[in-house]
Amino acid sequence: MIRTPQLTDSRIRGSRGRALMSHLLQNLPNTIKQAFGTPLIRLTHASSPGRFRLLFRGSPGEQQEPMSDQDGTSRSRSANDTIDALADRLDAARRKHLKPDEKPTSAMALGFKYATEFTVATLVGAALGFGIDKLVGTSPWGLLAGLVLGLCAGVREIILSAQKGMEQGQTAISSEDPEQEQ
């Protein structure tokens, strides 16, 4: 068997190094899964990279190095460092793209939201019209106009929030007719 003395060096260089890097990059999820199961990772990936690394080093066993063989020890150490660096970079990248994933909005809460928005907008419109009536003395007309405007505002509010909800659900209503987005 041919030994590879370059890899015992603490640094990784040349094409072999690049191959190892890409191998590690591909296997990183599995490595992490082996080390302590997925849920913990999901807990930690959003937090600081320092803590991530600590947890990683503190994990029991040598499972985190899947390709350790005869010349294992020093090689796994350098690989560990690589993994740490990669983990840091992954963390940074993930934090950049972090979105609040599943939102706890039940259908009932959503329906109630629409209902209150519509009702309240109508009522506020009517109240505004009534107030204008009282101030100016145009008795029924202000109330009527306010009621109609309030209804319009309520419908508009429902449409806007439904659109927003659909965009968050990645149904992309706006891709069909882009004029409506404005």
């Binding site: 937090s47 706890p104 309240v120 907008a121 505002a153 404005q182």
Partner: protein
């Protein structure tokens, strides 16, 4: 009916009664310390206790309690970042305290015999007006007259933009009302429903005696049993929705004109 004689009424409304615990009147204002104030104090005290105790040992590798606090920090932080952008984080203390207060008040209300502060519209409307005052105050402070762009949507032909502006004003004015009514009505309706079914189970036994009454009580009891987890969910979701909409409105104060 029959239960009236025992002094304790089985009706779903009496749980919302406010009873003064220490009378205090300033002029014509009644500033008594009531059971509602007590529950608010308990909620605030519990939040403070929880936060102080679990952040006392600031370890790099968080323990259980510390990671709960860190998770809730990140939950609110991500919510603000995704709705109001990174400069919305200056409102983090406000949104976090608002969310925690509502959550704790709702959850404390789920404990039997405890008073639910958020089931009174005075409380929720005060919270909503705090939000709106902050939105208007900060929006004017930061943007000056530019805050009025909030009501003047861009990219709409001039012929109908004034109409849309009126609609915007109406929906802006309806925000504090819908914000407070949503939380209040959810808590009120949930608690009435719970008490109604639970009281019905008791009344069944009272009316038909223990042996046949128990079978009659089974269905309302099952309803109560099913409603309790739903109410816990509602308690959380409504606190979340309140905080989320606060973030959305605060983002209007930060960036009026594009929405």
């Amino acid at each position: 009916m029959a239960a009236d004689g025992e002094g304790k009424r089985i009706d779903p409304i009496s749980q919302f009664e406010i009873t003064p615990m220490a009378e205090w009147k300033v002029g014509s204002y009644d500033l008594s310390f009531t059971n509602s104030s007590l529950m608010m104090l308990i909620a605030v005290g519990l939040i403070l206790l929880w936060l102080f105790l679990s952040t006392g040992r600031r370890s790099l590798v968080p323990g259980r309690w510390q990671s709960i606090v860190e998770l809730s920090y990140e939950f609110i932080g991500n919510m603000i970042r995704s709705t109001a952008g990174s400069d919305g984080l200056r409102f983090f203390p406000f949104v976090f305290s608002l969310f925690m207060f509502i959550l704790f008040a709702n959850m404390l209300g789920m404990i039997p015999f405890f008073f639910t502060t958020t089931s009174h519209i005075v409380v929720t409307f005060t919270l909503a007006m705090m939000v709106m005052c902050l939105v208007i105050g900060y929006g004017v402070y930061r943007n000056g007259w530019g805050f009025l762009r909030l009501f003047w949507p861009s990219g709409i032909p001039l012929a109908i933009v004034w109409f849309v502006a009126i609609l915007e004003v109406i929906s802006f004015m309806s925000r504090p009302i819908s914000l407070s009514v949503r939380l209040w009505a959810n808590m009120l309706a949930g608690h009435i429903l719970l008490k109604l079914f639970a009281g019905f189970a008791v009344m069944m036994v009272g009316a038909f005696g223990l042996f046949p009454g128990v079978f009659g009580a089974l269905i309302p009891f099952a309803m109560t049993f099913a409603l309790v987890p739903l109410e816990f969910l509602v308690a959380f979701v409504q606190a979340y929705v309140f905080a989320l909409l606060t973030c959305v409105y605060l983002s209007d104060a930060l960036h009026p004109g594009h929405h």
